[in-house]
């Protein structure tokens, strides 16, 4: 039925009101003359309303005369009448046309670039290079050569192993995959020494392959050779082997932290003002407000106003919220300052410890001064300190 309705709409039709005593005869004559009428409704005893196609309107006159009825057009509907209206309102029609053309033109540009998939690299770095290579906001989609662009980015950023550019709507999505950094592996057939990764005292050394140079209890410096892979024996040529050993050592870690007793804290008063601005392409439009607070922080948000799924247009609403802050001076007691120092030192120590490390001893010394507290930590750690190092062939 929807097809018939659409057809009627396109051809144009009129809603008529027929009044007369011979309504049935009117309907029968209409159909026998090949006039299609539909949606007939009885309004009163002598009148009906019906819909009739535009092209049949002229034929009605004769039937009306023969059946002694009157006919009134209540409403004209359909595409031909809309067209007629538009002809009268030329300016409006032109505006609609221009708008449609503008939307079409806008759709053929890239208005937003997204970088996806970065892990260790800052997305901004990737974005800069993408911009340099010619993919900027406002570039025509047809002008983009995605393949050469991908290759250029890969050459400029050797940390990446793959780059893919997809254009969805007015959005360009740059997807990157970073290279995973491989640890330097020394295969078992290659000759190597074992050196100290840190300075410390050897706690225990267990040599599986190679010649041990140091013994338990010896103090070593960072980089010193612990087990050598160059084996020298009497009556034979020097031989290179892949040394294997477990070396645990006691190492020391020191750190210090100072904490002023007089502290300044910022507190949110709850009062805030918000400023709105429009951003068209790169231009910001809006009134600058004067900020009535002496201390504040600002939160900036950008939002695309017009976006249909992947179709984003370069009009952004920027809202900047200013939160008023108040300075609250605070005096710490010596105990509180000491506690804070300790917390910070322990946090840093955690980052320093390697996986299999055992803390043997931990000491924190405090030095109290007039206005501050100084804390020094010294830790004794038992950990693996042997690291393989390839022997360079001469």
């Amino acid at each position: 039925m929807i097809i018939i309705r659409l057809w009627n709409f396109l051809r144009g039709y009129a809603i008529i009101i027929v009044e007369g005593l011979k309504i049935e005869r009117f309907i029968n004559m209409a159909i026998s003359n090949g006039i299609y009428i539909w949606d007939i409704k009885k309004l009163s005893y002598t009148s009906i309303s019906a819909k009739i196609g535009l092209e049949n309107f002229g034929k009605m006159r004769e039937i009306v005369r023969k059946t002694d009825s009157t006919i009134v057009i209540k409403e004209k509907r359909g595409f031909p009448f809309i067209l007629k209206d538009l002809k009268r309102h030329k300016l409006f029609a032109a505006t609609v046309m221009i708008l449609l053309i503008m939307i079409y033109v806008m759709c053929s540009y890239v208005w937003m670039i997204e970088v996806v998939g970065t892990k260790t690299i800052d997305p901004k770095v990737v974005m800069d290079i993408v911009n340099q290579e010619g993919l900027k906001e406002g570039v025509r989609k047809a002008k983009l050569d995605r393949h050469s662009l991908e290759n250029k980015i890969l050459i400029k950023l050797p940390q990446l192993s793959w780059v893919g550019i997809q254009v969805r709507g007015t959005k360009a999505v740059v997807e990157v995959v970073e290279k995973r950094e491989e640890p330097e592996l020394i295969s078992k057939t290659d000759a190597c020494d074992i050196v100290a990764a840190k300075s410390g005292v050897i706690h225990k050394i267990l040599v599986l392959n190679g010649d041990g140079i140091v013994k338990d209890g010896v103090t070593v410096k960072k980089g010193q050779v612990l087990v050598t892979g160059t084996i020298l024996r009497e009556n034979s040529e020097p031989r290179l082997v892949h040394s294997l050993a477990q070396v645990t050592g006691r190492t020391w870690y020191e750190d210090a932290e100072q904490m002023d007793l007089q502290q300044i804290e910022f507190k949110d008063t709850g009062r805030k003002t918000t400023q709105y601005m429009l951003k068209l392409l790169d231009k910001e439009v809006g009134f600058k407000k004067t900020i009535p607070y002496s201390e504040y922080n600002e939160v900036r948000e950008e939002k695309n106003i017009i976006s249909f799924g992947n179709y984003v247009f370069p009009i952004k609403l920027i809202s900047i919220r200013y939160n008023e802050l108040v300075i609250v001076p605070k005096t710490l007691t010596v105990e509180q300052a000491k506690k804070r120092c300790e917390e910070r030192l322990n946090e840093r120590l955690k980052l320093h410890l390697s996986e299999n490390a055992v803390v043997l001893d931990k000491k924190i010394n405090y030095v109290e001064e007039k206005k501050s507290v100084m804390a020094k930590i010294s830790v004794e750690i038992l950990e693996e300190i042997g690291v393989k190092k390839r022997i360079q062939a001469k």
């Binding site: 049935e24 309907i27 159909i31 026998s32 009428i37 539909w38 949606d39 007939i40 009885k42 009906i48």
Partner: protein, 90 residues
């Protein structure tokens, strides 16, 4: 149509399994649910009111009784009546 030719036509349509409404020139009335009646092969409207519609057919006058009856569409061969239909009869 006289009775003799009618008889012949009926036996013919029975024997050949042809649709009777075409051979005998009678109306085919289709009712969809309780608010659609489609009358094919009609011979014009005799009376149209909101609660009763009488349609001339080859086999007599078809009377549709109900309320809020509208003629959805009307063509040379087919009338579609909508509304709350109570009864359809001859």
């Amino acid at each position: 149509m006289n009775k003799k030719t009618y008889k012949i036509k009926e036996t013919l349509s029975n024997a050949l399994e042809l649709p009777k409404d075409i051979i005998l020139d009678v109306a085919r009335v289709t009712m969809i649910g309780s608010n659609h009646v489609i009358v094919e092969n009609h011979k014009g409207i005799l009376e149209y009111n909101e609660d009763q519609i009488r349609v001339n057919t080859g086999s007599g006058i078809l009377i549709v009784i109900g309320s809020k009856l509208n003629i959805k569409s009307i063509l040379q061969e087919e009338i579609t009546i909508t509304g709350e239909i109570d009864s359809v009869g001859y």
